[in-house]
Structures are given as structure tokens and as C-alpha cells.
């Protein structure tokens, strides 16, 4: 009975960010039956980005949400099916491959892993308790609640720099805390941030604790990585921008992962596990952008189609 009801897709794509949506589009256009699994709404980090200025073809920039909707519509036009459920467990070694959500089991001959990543936590006392109470991982979402207040940004990459620049326009002061002696952000971002009067740099410092008062953030205690000296910065919010963690827990033991937890795969997305390909931010690679995610998605779909035909 169950056998009769069972559908086996040619390709299952896990994750509906730009890599997953592009992989689905290319696979569907190659004549394959395609299902996309996504726990949240499509878009991933792209969908959450207010304006994207570096995706070619949009001289005025494009809202990540609008770009997501366009990509999804394009997928739907070519027959891609969407299942709004997250992957809970899977067996990638069997044929066809088994993918379980909380509600159902899906089967597919090939799988494209495009699960992206999520914001890394600081893992310090106070962070979990005060999440949503001044601890935030999205400056553009929550910055407005701290208009005219003093805030802290933690991190030294492009996201941290962009967050600090954005917050400097609406907040009284921005304290940028970074564990190294220089920012990792691009030269352009560094030049922009150096000229801002109300950004205070705390280099070679890490956050030790996030302090709260009356159920909301009241400050952070930072520690000098060289001297061990501590200092408290009174602040109403802490914006954490210390990188991303790949979403690969569900594939542990089944796919080759690097030290950071990213899937090891070559440029075609091949993981070494037959019929399983990786695309987008989840793949071990240098540059993580919408533009590179889209390229990964196309390559992985092409490789999956070739593998299915062989």
C-alpha cells in the first residue's frame, strides 16, 4: 500500500535560498522532477536582507525579499514543488535517498544540499537569556528599537562593519568590539567606518558577559585578549555579527565536513557521496554571496542531471 503512494523525485533540494532555488530551476528545466524542502519561507539569508547592492542586473539594488519571490515564481513556472517543512533526518547512502520531515518521508534519486548557515552565537553568559531583549543578530531589523541609545556591535567582518555604519546613523554611540587588532571587513567598508564620529573601536577585546537589568540588556563586560583586563560598557543592545555556522547537523556522519562544519564538495558540488551534491553557503568555499550561491546551484543541478543520466 505504502509503496503505491510513494513518489520518488529525481531531485530533492534541501533549502530554498538562492543556491537551492537556482538548483531547483536548473534541474526542473533539465526535465527532472524536483521537490524543494524548506523549514521557513524561501529566501534564506537573501530573503532577510533589506537591500542587495552587489547582485548584477539591479543598478538601484534589489530587496532580498523581492528577489526571493521572483526566483520562487520562476521555479514554480517550471514545475518545481515546494514542501514547507524542515529536514529532520535522512539516509543519503540508500537508493533512492530517504528524507524525513516531521510530517512525512520523501524519496529522491539525487539530493542537492543547500541548507545555508545561521548566525554564530557568542556563547557567553546572558546571551540566551537576553535574546530579543537587547541581544540581536539582525541590526537592520532591531536597530530602530534603540534609536538614540548606546549600542555594542561584536565582530570585525563586513556584516559587523555594515551593522556599525547603519547603527551609527540612528544611535547615540556604537561600540565596536573585535577580538583582533584590525577589522576583516573590505577596504571600502573600513574607509567608511573610520570616518564616523560616534563609532568607538575596542580592538583586541572579546565579550565576556552580557549584563541585564530589569529583563533587558544594560551593558557588556569586555576583556582584553592580551592583558586580560576587563571593562564594562553600558549599552542598551548588543548586535552580534561574528560569522555564520553551516546548517549541517542533520548530515553529520553522512557527508564529508570540514573543521567549520561546511560540506566538502568540488566546484560541481560533488560531495563524494554518490548522488549527493552541495551548493551555496553550506559548501566549503571562499566567497559567500548571492552571486556565488546562484553559480553553485546551477553547477550542482547540472552535475545531478549528469549523474542521474549515467
Amino acid at each position: 500500500m505504502e509503496q503505491e503512494a510513494r513518489t520518488t523525485y529525481d531531485v530533492a533540494v534541501v533549502g530554498a535560498g538562492p543556491a537551492g532555488l537556482t538548483a531547483a530551476l536548473y534541474a526542473a528545466r533539465a526535465g527532472l522532477s524536483v521537490v524543494v524542502l524548506e523549514a521557513l519561507m524561501p529566501g534564506g539569508q537573501m530573503g532577510e536582507t533589506g537591500r542587495i547592492d552587489n547582485y548584477p542586473g539591479f543598478p538601484e539594488g534589489v530587496s532580498g525579499f523581492d528577489l526571493t519571490m521572483q526566483m520562487q515564481e520562476q521555479c514554480t513556472r517550471f514545475g518545481v514543488e515546494f514542501v514547507n517543512e524542515g529536514l529532520v533526518s535522512c539516509d543519503l547512502a540508500c537508493a533512492p535517498k530517504r528524507l524525513d520531515t516531521a510530517a512525512r518521508t520523501l524519496w529522491a534519486r539525487a539530493v542537492i544540499v543547500a541548507t545555508g548557515s545561521h548566525s554564530r552565537k557568542l556563547d557567553v553568559p546572558g546571551e540566551a537569556e537576553l535574546a530579543g531583549r537587547g541581544v540581536s543578530y539582525c541590526a537592520t531589523c532591531d536597530g530602530n528599537f534603540f534609536r538614540g541609545k548606546t549600542v555594542v556591535v561584536v565582530g570585525g567582518g563586513n556584516t559587523a562593519a555594515a551593522d556599525a555604519i547603519y547603527l551609527s546613523r540612528i544611535c547615540e554611540a556604537v561600540h565596536l568590539v573585535h577580538r583582533r587588532d584590525r577589522l576583516r571587513a573590505t577596504a571600502a567598508e573600513q574607509r567608511r567606518i573610520a570616518d564616523i564620529d560616534n563609532v568607538v573601536f575596542h580592538m583586541n577585546k572579546t565579550v565576556r558577559t552580557i549584563e541585564g537589568e530589569g529583563g533587558a540588556v544594560s551593558g557588556v563586560v569586555i576583556e582584553d585578549v592580551q592583558t586580560g583586563e576587563t571593562e564594562e560598557i553600558p549599552a542598551s543592545a548588543v548586535f552580534v555579527a561574528v560569522g555564520k555556522v553551516p546548517n549541517t547537523d542533520v548530515f553529520a556522519g553522512q557527508l564529508p565536513l570540514d573543521e567549520a562544519g561546511c560540506v566538502r564538495a568540488d566546484e560541481s558540488g560533488a560531495t563524494g557521496v554518490a548522488g549527493v551534491f552541495a551548493a551555496g553557503d553550506v559548501r566549503a568555499k571562499r566567497l559567500r554571496q548571492v552571486a556565488t550561491a546562484v553559480g553553485d546551484g546551477a553547477n550542482a543541478a547540472e552535475a545531478a542531471a549528469e549523474w542521474l543520466a549515467s
Binding site: 523549514a39 521557513l40 519561507m41 529566501g43 530573503g47 532577510e48 536582507t49 533589506g50 530587496s63 532580498g64 525579499f65 526571493t68 514547507n84 517543512e85 524542515g86 516531521a102 535574546a131 530579543g132 531583549r133 537587547g134 540581536s136 543578530y137 539582525c138 537592520t140 531589523c141 532591531d142 530602530n144 528599537f145 534603540f146 529583563g215 533587558a216 543592545a237
Partner: protein, 102 residues
């Protein structure tokens, strides 16, 4: 579809409701809020009759957001008999939102 309400309607529609009410605190410029919107609309349709679902724009109703300590959006709060029953911060999968009613 989840209906958007104003600060003036909040007490009547949410606190004095005779059934549980899910409120989505959002802003028009917030990406994760936009991503949550279709899920919130789906839930509004599914729970119709047993619960109400409303959206509040935090820019239009900052006093309501402040009253419930909303400092991050989207914030989803289920009210029951005028009290906060459960809440969640950030974009959530649908089952996690439905669990706020339990």
C-alpha cells in the same frame, strides 16, 4: 489573511478577546518579518473560529510594542484572557508558531 490592527484596537481585539489571539509584531522594512508573513496568513486561515490572528506594525504602534517589551522583530505573542501565554522572537517554522497556542 491576518488582519492588521491599530494601537487603539489592541485592548478590544486582543486583551478582551474570548479566544486565544496570536499577534505578529512586525515592521514594513524588516526582512524576516516579510518572510514570516505568508506563514502567519496561513495560520490565520487554519485557526479561524478557535483563535484570532492579528498583525501590529511596531512603527505605527510603538506604545504597544513597548508595553510588551518587544525589542526584536518579528516577535510573535499568543495572548489568552488578556495575558501573555507564549512568545517567540525571530522567523519561526510554522509548527513552532502553532506550538505557541499550546
Amino acid at each position: 489573511m491576518a488582519t492588521q490592527i491599530t494601537a487603539a484596537e489592541f485592548d478590544e481585539k486582543v486583551l478582551k478577546a474570548d479566544k486565544p489571539v496570536l499577534v505578529d509584531f512586525f515592521a514594513t522594512w524588516c526582512g524576516p518579518c516579510k518572510m514570516m508573513a505568508p506563514t502567519i496568513d496561513q495560520i490565520a486561515t487554519e485557526v479561524k473560529g478557535t483563535a484570532d490572528v492579528y498583525k501590529i506594525d511596531v512603527d505605527q504602534a510603538p506604545e504597544i510594542a513597548q508595553r510588551y517589551g518587544v525589542m526584536s522583530i518579528p516577535t510573535l505573542i499568543v495572548f489568552d484572557k488578556g495575558e501573555v501565554k507564549n512568545q517567540a522572537v525571530g522567523a519561526q517554522p510554522k509548527p513552532a508558531v502553532m506550538a505557541l497556542f499550546d
